[in-house]
């Protein structure tokens, strides 16, 4: 029978039993915080990666010979433009620069600053870009990770690259990308396409790869077939393939964390079991007293469920709050490195809040259900025994 008196008594029990609940409350908050933080990081990264992948080209073509990726002939661009359904074709120049002082790899990306679309994209990363001024000298825009490493060795204003022809090419640091874009730009160096060609040693008439824009997704397969027929020494990567790669990567990481979660839950259940074996006497006495004075079994079970549900739910909510603070305010120290470990440089990214209500609900069920089951069973077992037997 649930009434105001019952609720008052429940509050009184929670207050007087706070010492009994404290240890399990702390463990629960810790558990939920860890799992919540993992979920928050994962969904935040996934959101950012999805946004980045959405801006990828529909098809990327690379020259591929004898299992090796080679520079792609620029002549292919005009060929591909003649295929029906292709909206635009563009050659890209990019490559990796080994920065010896810190033993780090940076990504050099050559950009055609006469292409308004590309300029717009670069401007979203760098607010201070003035194209005219930028192209007057050999300039580059660098990611914050690159900047950090350059600064370490006093390359504050410029950096001398060494192209394959053994010359020295001094390139001025024009600007640094904002920290918010770290997930994509931390290890990136952007410069004019011709300058990049020179530094990376890409011969005239060649590009690193070719990107193709296909507005109608239904035509993708047909265009891919036409590309395959046109040249045999090429590799074709669709946007879907890149997305699948990232999804697989996250599924793999998700699997690792699911295993970790199962282990944690199992440990948690053991702790609950041990705890309830230890305090069984206190609960037995209370249940027996209540049965003694005329409480029904279902009312007693309901009282204990309510008591522990409040403990579990408060622990869950506090754990989620801690996780939110840890991920979105403190930027998840330690865990961030586990998630972003595949990057060339240590990431200084800020996670953007992206909370998936479904995942939170799953975590709630996965946490609260075992918690409640671990309580209901012993309580019910005590409650059905004759009060006189428990009292003895």
């Amino acid at each position: 029978m649930i009434n105001k008196k019952f609720i008052n008594f429940l509050s009184l029990l929670l207050f007087t039993h706070h010492k009994k609940h404290l240890s399990i409350f702390v463990i629960s908050v810790l558990l939920v915080s860890i799992m919540g933080a993992v979920l928050f990081i994962s969904s935040s990264i996934q959101k950012d990666i999805n946004a980045t992948l959405d801006n990828q080209a529909d098809i990327t073509v690379q020259r591929y010979k004898g299992g090796k990726v080679l520079n792609t002939p620029e002549a292919w661009i005009d060929e591909f433009l003649n295929i029906n359904g292709v909206a635009s074709v563009q050659g890209r120049i990019y490559g990796v620069h080994y920065y010896e002082p810190s033993e780090q790899y940076f990504m050099i990306v050559g950009v055609d600053f006469f292409d308004t679309q590309i300029v717009k994209t670069v401007q979203t990363l760098s607010d201070n870009l003035d194209i005219k001024q930028f192209l007057q000298k050999d300039n580059m825009i660098i990611g914050s990770g690159v900047k950090e490493h350059f600064d370490k060795y006093a390359y504050y204003d410029y950096y001398p690259f060494r192209p394959p022809d053994r010359s020295i090419k001094k390139v001025n640091i024009y600007d640094t990308f904002s920290k918010e874009s770290d997930i994509v730009s931390s290890d990136m160096i952007i410069m004019d396409i011709n300058l990049a060609r020179e530094i990376l040693g890409v011969e005239d008439g060649y590009v690193t790869d070719i990107i193709i824009k296909v507005p109608n997704p239904l035509e993708l397969e047909m265009i891919k077939t036409k590309l395959v027929i046109s040249h045999f020494d090429m590799r074709i990567i669709k946007k879907d393939d890149i997305q699948k790669y990232y999804k697989n990567l996250f599924n793999y990481k998700g699997g690792v964390f699911l295993t970790l979660y199962i282990v944690v839950v199992f440990t948690f259940l053991l702790i609950l079991y041990q705890r309830y074996s230890m305090i069984r006497d206190i609960d037995s006495k209370e249940i027996a007293i209540l049965r003694f004075v005329g409480w029904r079994i279902d009312t007693i079970v309901w009282l204990k469920i309510s008591e522990n549900f409040i403990v579990a739910t408060s622990a869950y909510m506090l754990g989620i709050l801690f996780a939110y603070f840890y991920v979105f305010v403190l930027d998840a120290p330690i865990l961030k490195n586990i998630f972003l470990g595949y990057s060339n440089l240590e990431n200084n990214i800020s996670f953007s809040p992206n909370i998936d209500a479904g995942l939170l609900m799953i975590l709630f069920l996965f946490f609260v259900l075992p918690f409640m089951i671990a309580i209901i069973i012993p309580v019910w077992r005590i409650a059905i025994v004759e009060p006189s037997e428990v009292m003895r």
């Binding site: 029978m1 007293i289 049965r291 003694f292 005329g294």
Partner: protein
């Protein structure tokens, strides 16, 4: 009226069993004060537990106002314990962390009484049991006599017709035992049916005892 017919209780242990009650037959009239005397292990507490609805017998029946309480479901047995019986035990079965008043009102939490009615009833029984001055004190800080009076107050709060006292003075000193007897006399005046299981000679000082029954090895002498 309580009518006990052919009541038997057998306890089973791993390889052994023993008869706590052997074919008990007894009729207790309304308003009667009855003392069950016997040594420890004679079966007094078992008999009280069965009448109180907190233990099931192996065989036999117990009729309270014409209803066989032995065959009641949990739902009805709980209602019986809540409304018809007040149990006073030798051990202090109380919530130590709660106050005297919170312990006393426990049986009324699952009833339809309003908070005001509960308050009135609690004050009344605390007054009878002379514990009202300790109402906000935690049970853990009370003396043995005060705990016993709290238990009596809790047993009385639902205004039950039957009061069962199982070795009520076992943990009390002489002075507190006498206080308990005073309360019993008050209850007797109120017309309650009272059963006291004891081996304490102090109860012989109660003048108006209707019957003293001696019990030994599960049978009446």
């Amino acid at each position: 009226m309580i009518e006990i017919k052919n009541l038997c209780k057998k306890f089973y242990q791993k390889t052994d069993s023993f008869h706590a009650l052997k074919n008990i037959n007894l009729t207790i009239n309304k308003g009667e004060l009855l003392v069950l005397k016997g040594l420890s292990g004679s079966g007094k507490s078992t008999l009280l537990s069965i009448i109180g609805g907190i233990m099931k017998p192996t065989s036999g029946s117990v009729f309270v106002d014409g209803e066989n309480i032995v065959s009641l479901s949990d739902y009805h047995a709980s209602h019986y314990r809540n409304t018809k019986v007040g149990f006073v035990t030798q051990s202090f079965h109380l919530f130590d962390a709660l106050s005297v008043k919170d312990n006393i009102i426990l049986p009324l939490i699952v009833t339809d009484y309003s908070n005001d009615e509960v308050e009135k009833k609690a004050n009344k029984v605390m007054d009878i049991c002379k514990i009202i001055h300790k109402q906000n004190q935690k049970v853990a800080t009370l003396s043995g006599g005060e705990k016993q009076r709290t238990i009596i107050a809790r047993a009385l709060i639902t205004q039950p017709q039957i009061i069962l006292c199982d070795e009520p003075t076992a943990n009390l000193d002489y002075e507190n035992s006498m206080k308990f007897i005073e309360i019993i006399k008050e209850l007797q005046k109120m017309g309650k049916t009272i059963l006291i299981a004891t081996h304490d000679p102090v109860f012989e000082k109660i003048k108006n005892i209707d019957r003293i029954i001696k019990i030994r090895d599960g049978s009446f002498e």
